[in-house]
Symmetry: C2
Subunit: 193 residues, 2 copies
């Protein structure tokens, strides 16, 4: 019995807490609220996660693993043009959790957690480093296939793209204009042709 119910309760708690942390805020969400929304008992929640910090760390790990897999999968679609893969990859960061307080879920958790959650902030930093490397490989592929033309160093261009995606997700949120991200990426893609 335990084997079947334990992972499921853990999953429900993580799902409920992810939505609350992203849409309402990490600091303003209490464990009691997670109990109330998830309908999982407090004892059971604390059996899985010793503290809210531990729950946050598990959520960020899960988000990083999921997004890394999805990004790698998109990057491997060699039958799509490189710019299409980059746009797909950017859209991914918002479509799973469209109501994150800061646009991108990773940016939201990074800014919501303070220096007392340094481990989480470092994990998110490493995720963006990995994203920049993937972007650089995509750009190299675009150059090899003559889809992209640039004399600029690819590591810098990759950092520019990752920054623009994060900034556009944020700006789009502040302007409540869901078309802004794709407009901005289209503008950048035009500059690279």
């Amino acid at each position: 019995m335990k084997k079947n119910t334990t992972p499921s309760n853990r999953m429900i708690v993580m799902q409920v807490a992810t939505a609350l942390f992203l849409e309402k805020g990490y600091q303003t969400t209490s464990m009691d609220e997670i109990v109330a929304v998830s309908k999982v008992s407090k004892t059971n929640i604390y059996y899985h996660f010793k503290s809210k910090e531990e729950l946050l760390a598990a959520i960020v790990d899960q988000m990083i693993n999921r997004y890394t897999d999805m990004i790698d999968e998109i990057a491997a679609q060699t039958d799509w043009p490189v710019t299409d893969r980059i746009s797909r990859f950017a859209a991914l960061l918002t479509e799973q959790t469209p109501n994150s307080l800061g646009g991108c879920p990773f940016l939201t958790l990074y800014v919501q957690t303070s220096h007392d959650s340094e481990v989480v902030r470092e994990a998110i930093g490493a995720f963006f480093r990995k994203q920049t490397t993937t972007m650089e490989s995509l750009l190299q592929e675009g150059m090899d296939r003559k889809e992209i033309q640039t004399a600029l160093p690819l590591p810098q261009l990759a950092a520019l793209l990752v920054s623009t995606i994060e900034g556009a997700l944020f700006l789009q949120h502040t302007q409540r204009d869901p078309a802004l991200l794709s407009t901005i990426l289209h503008t950048l893609a035009t500059m690279l042709k």
Copy 2:
């Protein structure tokens, strides 16, 4: 006596609270902590600000006014090349408060405050709209002076620039690489020549 001390206490409280909200976090800073750090009495603080929300609103108003003035002043330096003015303008967003949790102080307060501070979030949204308009005028000036060459629509290009600046300030913070913003802006400027 009151006329002289009142604005000064108000100023001290705002200065202390701005640093705490940006570097430690809005939700995790209590009014008691502001009392302890500012050494202004609780009674005096509550005389000026009815609540932490009211203090936040006053801080955001002040930040918006200050940055708008500084941005307008930089934009008016017609003896500087347009790209230099854009870089200056971007650097400004981080140099006054270099330790903001999310890189840019406006992004930090936007993401730190939840939907219960909608007025603050809307004010920050309006600030970025204004910033995009200023950027568009600068780009137009750059085109007129042949410093910038592009066939792209300027409103889109302005949104791209504002996004890139915000994203680069964030990425620079996560990577603890204080040179990243200027590298990214230099890359973008090269693409516009």
